[in-house]
């Protein structure tokens, strides 16, 4: 389109009043206000503290490999929540979406003897379907996502135990499809070309990282992902900008369900069985990773890198306190406290940065 207007600024009746504020650079925050850098610093400090108190903290087999395995699971769990935090929604059914998907996978391995990858695909589809259902209910009824997913989680708790007791094998499937134990036990250091072996990284880590990269690409570059973020930023404006808002809500929740299913799969690999208790520990970690990493609960902005750091921080604290012989109960208290402090510090840092920015 060629619109002949306003050849130069000189002919424009300028908006002088807005000039002073516009010519200033945008109120950029100083680098130390970046929550990701702050998290990284805290992680480094904690690693130094824990490893000086207990040298076994840096032991590859005892600590580092299990940590990476746990981290992979909780990263994907965090991504599952992040997928709907982008909308300003919540998915309290992440645990049970993982559980019912894990049931589907276990059932496929047990009764259809499908290969590992095919069962995974089946489970992901189940997760996506349950997530899409949640999204559809939310957009069709306009009921708050908190309430819808809370109710859905409750319903699924019953359904999962019913499924295991009636058409499952009690509380877990015994089937171990080919490759499951390899995926569980091996690290890349078990694969050598001549004298050169891989790093001590468990095989499931690339799966989690691939998921993270795909989610990051989705929200950063793809049209659908960006439109989900715009919907989270301002749903009314999104509708009035031509974005199919209901469809984006369903898609975000379907993505959340898919990632929950993947997390369920990874946990089943780690623990060695597709069992009824998969997902039970997912709810708090699903919020911790994204929220510590700077993803807003109000929607419109997500940080995948922050989610990785947030999940890592939680895992470092958990492992470190564990090595210092804290009991499970103590562990929960301290993790809760550390996270409260971390979040408060984050807020303080942000306020300080804003003040400095507004003075500039």
């Amino acid at each position: 389109m060629n619109v002949p207007m306003q050849q130069s600024d000189a002919t424009v009746p300028t908006d002088e009043l807005a000039t002073e504020s516009a010519q200033r650079p945008p109120r950029g925050l100083p680098f130390w206000a970046n929550p990701r850098l702050g998290l990284l610093a805290v992680i480094v400090v904690l690693v130094l503290v824990f490893s000086s108190l207990r040298s076994s903290f840096l032991n590859t087999d005892l600590t580092l490999v299990p940590m990476q395995q746990d981290l992979s699971v909780f990263l994907v769990v965090g991504l599952a929540q992040l997928a709907v935090l982008s909308l300003g929604h919540m998915n309290l059914a992440v645990p049970r979406m993982a559980a019912i998907s894990a049931f589907a996978m276990g059932w496929c391995y047990q009764h259809l003897s499908v290969p590992l990858w095919l069962g995974l695909v089946a489970g992901l589809i189940v997760g996506a379907a349950v997530g899409a259902l949640a999204g559809w209910i939310i957009s069709a009824t306009g009921v708050n996502s908190f309430v819808v997913t809370l109710a859905l989680d409750f319903a699924l708790v019953g359904l999962v135990s019913l499924l295991y007791s009636h058409i499952g094998d009690g509380v877990a499937f015994a089937a171990h499809p080919a490759g499951m134990n390899t995926l569980r036990n091996d690290t890349f250091s078990d694969y050598c070309a001549g004298n050169v072996c891989g790093p001590p990284v468990p095989l499931i880590v690339p799966i989690a990282l691939l998921a993270a990269v795909l989610v990051a690409l989705l929200f950063r570059l793809s049209r659908v992902g960006r439109e989900i973020l715009m919907t989270g930023s301002n749903a009314r404006a999104a509708r009035l900008s031509g974005i199919p808002v209901s469809r984006r809500v369903v898609q975000a929740h379907a993505l959340s369900g898919t990632l929950a299913a993947l997390a369920g799969f990874l946990l089943a690999i780690n623990s060695g069985a597709f069992s009824a208790d998969i997902g039970n520990s997912f709810l708090l970690p699903s919020f911790l990773g994204p929220v510590l990493g700077g993803t807003l609960l109000s929607g419109g902005a997500v940080s995948v890198l922050g989610t990785i750091f947030g999940a890592a921080l939680t895992e470092v604290i958990r492992t470190g306190l564990n090595l210092l012989n804290f009991s499970v109960q103590d562990l929960n208290i301290y993790i809760g406290l550390v996270l409260l402090v971390a979040l408060s510090l984050d807020r303080v840092r942000h306020v300080l940065a804003e003040r400095r920015g507004s003075r500039a």
Partner: protein, 506 residues
């Protein structure tokens, strides 16, 4: 009590909303506060009623013996205690409460910690009597007409002993008879020694009832407490509009009438209550849709865009009957865009970057294999930054950091990026200072000159008369008339206002 707001300054980020505005209110007068949209009227009202604290100037009251008291309002309650009451455009009554409960809301008579029902009714009756209004004080407010609610609001202000009463657009949603009744009440208040401030766009009413006036332009008081008898309508309009505004003189554009109209509505009715609406706008033409607030203009636009149901009639685009079910469809199939009325709520994404705000409508086009490249987006921003004169620091600045005028440009840019043939532009210059407004007017004319069909919705009559080729007048969800605009304020505004009044009277 004489109340004076002296040399008031109020600055918002990017805009000096009030720049040494003075308002002087004598007891026993009806004082009109005049100015165009964005001139600073509502900001001044908010300063006077304690909602905003001024950045400069002072608030004074004079007692009968001539002594001055400086006032300082920490909040609305302080202003109320100082005797300043306000009746807002948006009603502040509790619908489920009775008339008496609403009137006594801020001055509840109590006995032993409980509400004294009899005293409360007595207070309400006394207040209504002073207005010479007869209403059953036990009726719930929800059962009252709009005009009656307004009277209850005034009575409510009297209940807390207000000496100064501000009425913000009191007749916007009243019929002619109701407005007359209201002004009888206002006259009675004046005779009882109150000073009444009337904020309205309706100059007829001002000349009929007010004694003095203050005119705001661009945040300044260009006329302070002057007797209205010394002024003509033309003077007042010139004071309000100023020279800068009248500079944009347009000749009537020649529009190609041989082709089918770009957008045409024939006998359209909607679920919202529109009836038999017929309009058309051709490429290169600006059709103004004028009406008072609540006349159903934006609602019509929303129905055309598929956000509300159309229950009858035909919408045609380039001669073809269409059924539009969403904004996305309007955009992709018909190149019809809608620049919304409330830019902060509906027009821009405040917490997103300018790049995303501008490109949100065109990701479908920009995407390759579903992925959007940042460079394409930034190029788009640079293009419109120049074309629209956007004052921004860069494509990654957040839209929420911009001034109102620049946000509006961002909101417009997203539809220009989408290459629209038809644009519905709803109240484009509300709350924008005069200079940016003039720039916006040039922009809109430029768009029409480039061949875009524009349906301009505005309740700012001078703006309408400056921009539109034809003006369709809407009142109570009907089109009550249409006229060719000759860009002469006096004649056209009379004609438009006559149309609305004729409709209300019938």
């Amino acid at each position: 009590m004489t109340f004076i707001a002296e040399q008031i300054v109020k600055v918002f980020p990017g805009v000096r909303a009030l720049d040494r505005a003075t308002l002087r209110l004598e007891p026993g007068t009806i004082h009109a506060l005049l100015g165009e949209n964005g001139a600073g009227k509502s900001t001044l009202i908010k300063v006077v009623t304690g909602v905003y604290q001024p950045d400069g100037g002072r608030l004074l009251s004079t007692a009968e013996d001539g002594s001055l008291t400086e006032l300082s309002f920490g909040g609305p309650l302080d202003a109320q205690r100082a005797g300043i009451g306000v009746v807002h455009q948006e009603r502040n009554l509790v619908p489920a409460f009775s008339v008496a409960e609403n009137i006594a809301l801020q001055a509840v008579p109590k006995r032993r910690g409980f509400v004294d029902q009899e005293a409360m009714r007595g207070l309400a009756r006394r207040c209504l009597d002073r207005l010479d209004v007869h209403l059953d004080v036990d009726r719930p407010v929800s059962s009252l007409s709009v005009a009656q609610m307004q009277l209850v609001e005034i009575a409510k202000a009297l209940a807390v002993d207000s000496k100064v009463l501000l009425l913000d657009e009191p007749t916007a949603s009243l019929t002619g008879d109701e407005a007359e009744a209201l002004y009888t009440v206002v006259g009675a208040l004046r005779d009882q020694g109150h000073s009444v401030v009337l904020v309205t766009h309706k100059l007829e009413e001002v000349f009929a009832v007010a004694d003095t006036m203050t005119v705001l332009r661009d945040g300044r008081s260009v006329a302070e407490a002057q007797p209205l008898a010394e002024h003509t309508r033309d003077d007042v309009v010139t004071l309000m509009v100023g020279r800068a505004h009248a500079d944009l003189q347009l000749d009537s554009r020649s529009v190609d009438t041989t082709t089918a109209p770009a957008l045409e509505l024939e006998n359209v009715s909607t679920a919202q209550g529109h009836h038999n609406i017929s309009l058309h706008v051709r490429r290169g033409e600006i059709l103004g849709l004028y009406g008072l607030v609540g006349a159903g203009r934006s609602e019509l636009a929303r129905a055309v865009l598929g956000l509300d149901a159309i229950t009858g009639g035909t919408v045609r685009i380039s001669g073809e009957p269409v059924r539009i079910s969403s904004v996305g469809q309007a955009l992709q199939r018909h190149r019809l865009g809608y620049v919304t009325e409330n830019r902060k709520e509906e027009g821009v994404f405040l917490d997103q970057t300018i790049a995303r705000n501008v490109s949100v409508t065109v990701w479908r086009r920009l995407a390759r294999l579903g992925l959007v490249r940042g460079n394409d987006e930034r190029a788009l921003v640079e293009q419109y930054r120049e074309q629209l004169g956007m004052r921004i620091s860069g494509p990654t600045q957040l839209a929420g950091q911009l001034s109102g005028g620049n946000q509006q440009k961002v909101s417009l840019a997203k539809w220009l990026a989408a290459d629209c043939d038809i644009l519905v532009i709803d109240e484009p210059t509300v709350g924008i200072d005069v200079r940016t407004k003039a720039a916006f007017h040039e922009l809109i004319v430029g768009l029409a000159d480039a061949g875009i069909a524009i349906l301009l919705i505005s309740s700012d009559l001078p703006e309408m008369i400056t921009l539109a080729d034809r003006i369709a007048v809407m009142s109570e969800y009907r089109i009550v008339g249409e006229l060719d605009n000759d860009h002469r304020y006096e004649r056209t505004s009379h004609a438009v206002i006559r149309m609305i009044h004729a409709e209300i009277a019938s």
